[in-house]
Symmetry: C2
Subunit: 307 residues, 2 copies
């Protein structure tokens, strides 16, 4: 099956304790697409500027990602600069130049309308809702958001949450969205807003998926997947989007959505996130093999499973 991701494509400047890179390809839709491309056919909707050339295009197409939904606009591509000198778990944003992304209006190519899985990366909630309503044949919708939208556009976000099946956010965002500091209680409050399932990403501690009572017919017991303790996290940028790409990509590759498939998807999310942070930018995600991915999946299993 195929999956459509709608979100940002960007150029990033990143500084971490491991070094500094400039002008590398980034953006939520980019990390998501690459991670998901190891599992299923990926289609992308986003906007880039005149500085986005064949070299960047090739990062997508060489992984078989369909870029017909990548609009070329006059001006520059979205640019972001951030550093992780004090804390690898949280970027300090140096600058954000929205450029062509400022007026982004997602346009879905007609050829994409049969897509069965949808991921709404972190963009303005009303745009997310518009895409979701447009995509009539979607079976399952995943969604990301961030503190900016939680604080600035709570009503719009609430409308979007009614339309999505799985929300993927981090601990801080979940607590903020629910106005609740206890994580399991926050999860229940967020699920009451609409999603069938909520994936809370705990950074270096892995992720937990919480379910609504009756969601997917599989009961409400949560499930927790690890991440790999990594000796050198070179660049945490895109880890969450790569997680979402592994999670959603694996779901889109399966015929049936049952509890076991959702559990394995959470593991694949962690696996793809763990690869992403090993190199700056998308480097590691560009040249993986399914064998490497499944070998790491096995390491994740050994890290957590009793005999």
């Amino acid at each position: 099956m195929s999956i459509l991701v709608v979100g940002s494509v960007a150029f990033d400047d990143v500084t971490s304790p491991s070094g500094s890179v400039k002008n590398i390809l980034g953006g939520a839709a980019t990390y998501f697409s690459l991670a998901a491309s190891y599992f299923t056919r990926v289609r992308v909707v986003g906007v880039v500027g005149e500085d986005f050339g064949p070299e960047q295009e090739k990062v997508f197409t060489s992984r078989g990602i369909d870029t017909r939904g990548l609009e070329r606009a006059q001006g520059k591509t979205f640019r972001w600069g951030g550093s992780y000198m004090d804390n690898l778990n949280e970027a300090k944003t140096d600058y954000t130049d929205l450029n062509v992304f400022e007026t982004f209006q997602p346009r879905i190519p007609a050829e994409y309308e049969d897509t069965e899985f949808l991921f709404l990366a972190n963009i303005q909630p009303t745009l997310q809702a518009g895409v979701r309503r447009h995509m009539q044949r979607v079976r399952l919708t995943g969604c990301d958001t961030m503190n900016y939208w939680i604080n600035r556009t709570p009503k719009e976000l609430a409308e979007t949450l009614k339309l999505v099946d799985v929300l993927l956010i981090n601990d801080t965002e979940a607590k903020m969205l629910a106005h609740e500091t206890n994580l399991p209680r926050a999860a229940q409050k967020v699920l009451a807003m609409g999603p069938q399932a909520l994936v809370i990403k705990h950074g270096e501690y892995g992720a937990t998926i919480f379910f609504r009572e009756g969601a997917f017919g599989i009961g409400r017991h949560p499930f927790r997947a690890p991440t790999l303790p990594i000796d050198e996290v070179k660049d945490p940028t895109g880890a969450g989007d790569s997680f979402a790409g592994g999670f959603m990509g694996y779901l889109a590759s399966q015929e049936e959505l049952n509890r076991e498939v959702l559990k394995r998807a959470l593991f694949y999310g962690g696996v793809m996130g763990s690869f992403a942070v090993e190199r700056f930018g998308t480097e590691r995600l560009q040249n993986l093999t399914r064998e490497e991915i499944d070998a790491r999946f096995q390491i994740f299993r050994e890290l957590t499973h009793l005999e």
Copy 2:
């Protein structure tokens, strides 16, 4: 087999978002003893004052804990007051009255000298080392410490670490002890100081055990156990000591120390910690059954295991 714990017995005043209690029995050795008592025979060495009466004694003896090593001194028992109003993961200490604990010199009853497992709860490192050297027939020693000793008595602590098999500390302590912010690298540095294994407790995210190359003949791949997402953490006091009690108590109940036993011990640590926080003080740990413990072990397994 039997296990000896050396550490504090205290009276606590605790305030959390769930309420406030005064003058309840606490202390590291207390939580540890109760948690371990569901797995093996427990002996305790500590000191109490004249305010420690039959009611407190009975908390130990009704769980079959051997209190012959509990010295009665003139004066008051150690008293601690803390609150968790802002952060359930970290206590704000309101006061510490060491009282009889200030001059505590562990005295091991002759009847305890055949003990095969030893846990050195968080006390002055030189006292820990003295107990370890005294206990000639010990097969495995676990040890706790805290930021106070890491900062104030690093040399003494380094000597103690050479004598212990498993160190159990939290993320912040591990990073502080290793002077290293990356957790897996911090773990390797701590292991180079002496212990065969290092258990790092991640609070609500569970715990990871790291091994030295060749430790226990089981290879160095880490293993991670969860904690249970709990809707209402009433009182986090003693969670770490209860974790240690479950971990060490289970080890002491096993004939052989292999990788699988250490993995299961980490799960039992999380299980006992999760019970401890459900009620104020030691209440929940006083009246468990092995069936309840194993049922929760099973929930921990379902929370983390793929089919």
